[in-house]
Each structure stands twice: as structure tokens, then as C-alpha cells.
Symmetry: C2
Subunit: 357 residues, 2 copies
Amino acid sequence: MSVDDEALPERSRRRRPPKPHAAGVKAVAAAAGVSLGTVSNVLNRPEVVSPLTRAKVEAAMASLGFVRNESARQLRAGSSRILAYLMLDAGNPFFTDVAKGVEEAAQAAGLSVFLCNSSEDVDREAAYLDLLEQQRVQGILITPIDQNSARLRKLPSRGTPVVVVDRAIDDAEHCSVAVNDVLGGELAISHLLELGHERIAYVGGPNTIGQVIDRRDGARRALQTAGKPLTNLIELTTGALTVAEGRGAGQRLAGLPADRRPTAAFCANDLLALGLLQQCVSLGLRVPEDLAIVGYDDIEFAEAAAVPLTSVRQPRQLLGRTAAELLLDESSNPDHEHQRVTFTPELVVRTSTRGTL
Amino acid sequence: MSVDDEALPERSRRRRPPKPHAAGVKAVAAAAGVSLGTVSNVLNRPEVVSPLTRAKVEAAMASLGFVRNESARQLRAGSSRILAYLMLDAGNPFFTDVAKGVEEAAQAAGLSVFLCNSSEDVDREAAYLDLLEQQRVQGILITPIDQNSARLRKLPSRGTPVVVVDRAIDDAEHCSVAVNDVLGGELAISHLLELGHERIAYVGGPNTIGQVIDRRDGARRALQTAGKPLTNLIELTTGALTVAEGRGAGQRLAGLPADRRPTAAFCANDLLALGLLQQCVSLGLRVPEDLAIVGYDDIEFAEAAAVPLTSVRQPRQLLGRTAAELLLDESSNPDHEHQRVTFTPELVVRTSTRGTL
DNA sequence: CGCTGTGGATGAAAGGTTTCAAGAGCGTTC
DNA sequence: GAACGCTCTTGAAACCTTTCATCCACAGCG
């Protein structure tokens, strides 16, 4: 779905200087006239070395352009100062907000965060998990595509703590931090039912993603609670949770004859909802008069949409922060107990369902 | 600007199993009844080891749950299979699109990408640069906050190739891939001038960011070209390039008496523009009748906004892909020459300036 | 004057992998 | 039947840092 136009760029060339060679602890020690161990002490326990020697060593490091080799450090010391968040979709502002929370907590603990993006691709997810395990990162935060993956369950037993983010998992291997998606689905559909809608579309997919399933189940439950038949929920399965797929769904929806077309749509996330909204509006449907729309996540752009979007809000940053804190606890506290933390979502009603009052 | 509500979560606890211990090449060799070297060969040059031995070794690896220690590998082999993209703001969809292009190119070359987020914070940027250098990543792609940073210029001479993304830099140290921001600014303002606007606001900041400066300079140049005084450009400086700051600017703008208020605003990016738009609309200004708005980047959400946004489009993914390709060339091709690639932006006109036709 | 304590520096070992020259086993060829 | 080639395997060195027990010099003290 790239909008890149292959504009012909101008290029300008320059020669490059010869390849350099790195200086190690040994070189620094020689330059400063001290031993290897002393240089290491300056690096790791500066307080035990006398100010004079320390100054000499630091001068030598500066003049040689010494850069500590983290591989060697980690190999010997055995520990990494890095935490990874493997995101489901970096293009979804929801996850970048979660990431913000993760970074916040990590920074407070003096760790750095590497972000990885699986783009809803199972193979990429697997490749990143392997890579991160091999890197011996301090821990992995992940919003998984398939939370039952064997690979995922094996990691903690091999020494890499894993915290599942935005999915509740009830197994003995990891902590998880989630928002009650079933409840979120119920909130959305109850709202639509209260407004008098009968035929409601559920737009989401693929059905391997836990969030998609739970939100649909919540939708169904709301119908049951209200004593409506499940056939009132028309499912439109998408290939991914993106704006483009949302547009596709909009196309399909708008193509239905008016008497069979749902009067409302509940989308598994805001990206789908925004795409759906855009497409429907451009095809001449009025929102919410012809079609009411509810999204999910309440991303920043939901409020600024063509028709401000009713959405199910989740505590995004808090989600990330909490997950990171659990991970940190797991990797530092010997008495750590795995936890399953569940937050409660909240419906934010805007024009896309309520109309202008 | 978090919308997190500190909803009280439910927590459930579980005991965790005892700590495991990792198996190395040595253990695998022993289990398979072969030598160290052979295990290493299975890992790195499977074709040279006989199918039988290979099978034995692989069985041993599986049963021991062997995970290669990447630190040790890298220490010995000297090379990393990782590429990093240090983003200016992971919350801006523009940069995640660029990242997508980077990932694409990296995957094609069999490398993995770690994303890092400086969040427009100089200290975080510096910390990540140090970290990545110590990690000996294969190369760094960066959209810098301050492109004249000494740290940035020192990296390549110490062996870590750096490509600057979305900034043109004319020095001998790195390649850069950029879009002509001055031209982009000109396009935006020329368009507004053609529509008859006289007093135009430029919304952007902080002024340490190159993109902000260039786009403003382009704006000024367009005024000069049209023979208008520079005082027609009213600068509203923001603290960051975010939706929230855009709302703040909207507040300031809407607060001006109508006869002194600009009739159009050009924002340094779409996030600002969307915030501005939202705030102005909610304060009762009509867009584009009372205030025309032009954004920059043409992110996916620009088209779906309350009033579809006129914006300056850049080839986002292509930018990332090209940058990654330059980096790969630099780290693998001994005859590499640094290049400065510049793409051309394009104005996309929508309702926020043109009105509904 | 000899002993102890102390702040600081030292040197060697260790950590897990890759590399590479050398070796082992075995079938072919003359 | 000896020499050769071939395929596969081996063992040890090397990568760079951290750690820790040891050592040194010197001050204070009895």
C-alpha cells in the first residue's frame, strides 16, 4: 500500500577515506602505562582507582577513540542492558504509544529498548524471537500474533523472560498485561444496540489474532445478553488490521443493497475503522445516519477523523509501562511471581455513532 | 499527553519454576560425540559436514535446547547481522513508513533491523548512538535531531557506517538520503499564494530541527519569488512536532482577532496540522473558509482527517529503502562512494485549502 | 624495627564461539 | 601395494572484556 512515487533522485558522489581499525582495552592500557585490569576498573568501578591513574586512562581512551566492545563485555559478564519490544505493527499508533510506556519504564531502570516489528507476519516474529534470544537480551516484551506459539513458551525456560503485552495468557511461563477485550467488544455492541441498531457488522481479521477473536466474542455476548440472535452480527473478515483493509471492507459494505446492509459497524481497531469511514463517506454513505461506526483503541487520530470516531479506549502507555515493570521484576527479583494484569477498557462516544447533538 | 486512565487492574499471581542453565557448543559436541569444530561447522557451513553427523548434531542441539550465543559469535567473527534505525519520533507515522522501507531492504539482504526512538530528545539520541556503537551493529540509519553533532561525525571514522535519513548532509563522512524540504516549503506557500492568501502562518519547531528550518526557508523563498514582504509570514514556534503542540498552536491562532489572524497556516508536519485543524474546528473556525491548512508528509491519516488535508507528499518507504541500500553498499562494497540522494516532494491538494468543489 | 592493615594496581583465567592448519579414514589409480 | 586425493573431522588459538585473588608499597602502631 505504498504511496511512494519513484521520483528520480539527484545523486552526488564523493570518495571515502580508508578503513580504520579499532583500539581495545589493551591498547588503552599500553598508552596509559597501566595494566589491563586497571582500564577495566576505570570502566566499571571508577571509584576504586586513584584519581591520577583514572585521568591518565581516560585521556588515553579519548585520544585513541576507544569504544567498549559490548559483545566481549556481555560474553564475560553474562548480562545485557537491553530490553526488546516485539510489536505487532509499528505502523499502528496504538503500539507506538505502548512502546512509549515501555521506554519510560526502561529508562527509569537505566536500560535501553530495541523495538522490533513483526508486521503481523509469523515468520518475521519467529525470526526476531530467535535473534533476540541469541542476543541474550535481558527480556522480551511481545504482542504476539499467535500467543500459543511453542517458541514463545519455550523462551522463559531457557533463560529469557517474556512478558506478553495486550494479551491475557494463562500459563505458567510468562507474565501478561492485557485489557479485557471481551468486555470492550460488549461495550461497543451494547452501545450500538442502545441506539437501536439491529444489523451490525463486525469488521476484523485475521482470526488468528487473539484481540480480533476476543472483541468478536464480546460482541456476540452483548447480543446474547440483549436477547438478539447472533445472526444479527455480520462478520467481515479482513486480512490485516490496517487502514487499507478498512477501505476494502468499506467497499464491500457499501456495495450491499440498502435493505441488507448493516446500519452499524464495529471494527477491531481504529485503523480499520478509519479506512472504513473514509471509504464509506467517499462512496456517499452518511456517518452515522446511514452507517454508525465504532472503532477500537482510541488512537490520537480517531478524534481528528472526518467524523470523530466513537472508540473503545485502552490505557496504552500504562500497558507498556506495567509490562516493562513486570519484566524488570522478573529479571531482577528472585522471588518474582508471574502475574496476569488486566485493565478495563472504556467507551468513548463521539459523532460517528451519536451524530451531532 | 497520555490519555491513560489509571484504571485499577486485577492481578493474579503464580509461582515460577526454578532458574535454568544454558547449554553451549561444548555440551552439544559432547552429546553428539563430535568435536567443537564440527558443531560450529553445522552451524555455519552445514554443507561441509556429512549428513549423518549433521543429523546427530542437530538432534543434540534440539534435545539440549541449544541457543547460539550471539555475543561470542560476534566477538570472534567480528561482524554483526544487525542494522539500526534511530528514529526522530516513533509516534509519527511518517517515520514508521520510512522504517518499513528500511526493513524491506534489510530483509532482502538477510539482515535484521532494530528500531530505536530518540523522541526528539538529544540525550536519548546520544545514548542510543553510544549503545549501538558498542554493540558494533553493522550500520546506523538515523534521522538526527542535530545533524552537526560531533558524535555523529565521529562514528564512521571508528568503523560504524552511518546514513542520514531525511536530511541532506554535505560532508565527507556519510551518505544521506533526503527530500528537498526547501522546495516542499515553496510548493506549499506558492499554492496558498495562488489561492489569494496574504497573511500566512508558519507553524513548526523547535528550530534546531533541520526539516523545520528548511521548510520555513522554502516558505520565505516563495514569498520573495512572489514579491511579497517576509512579514506576511507569521511564525508560530512549537516545542515539538506533535498533535498536542498543533492543538496548542490552534488555540493561539484562534485567539487572535479576526483582522489580524492569518487566513492560512502551513505546518511543518501533518501531526501539527492535524492538531491545529482539530482545535480550530472545535473553536468554531471553518476550514478552509476561515483558515486554510497545509500539512507536510502526507501521512495516511491526512486524507482521513475531519477536513482532508492538503499536504506535501514525500516518498516515505522509498526514502527508507534507499537509505538502507546505501548503508548495505557502504558496509559490503570496498569501492563505496558516499552519496547524497535527494528526492523531490509533491503537493497533494485536498479540501483543507481548496474547499469542496 | 617488625607487623598489620589498606588503598591501589596487577596478571592470569574464563567466558562461548569461529577459524584454520593439520590429521584421519578410505577409496582409486598405476 | 604404495602413493595419492578426497571428504570429513579435529584441536587449539584467537576474539576482548571482566573478575578475583594476589601483590605491592606505604603508613600506623606496638
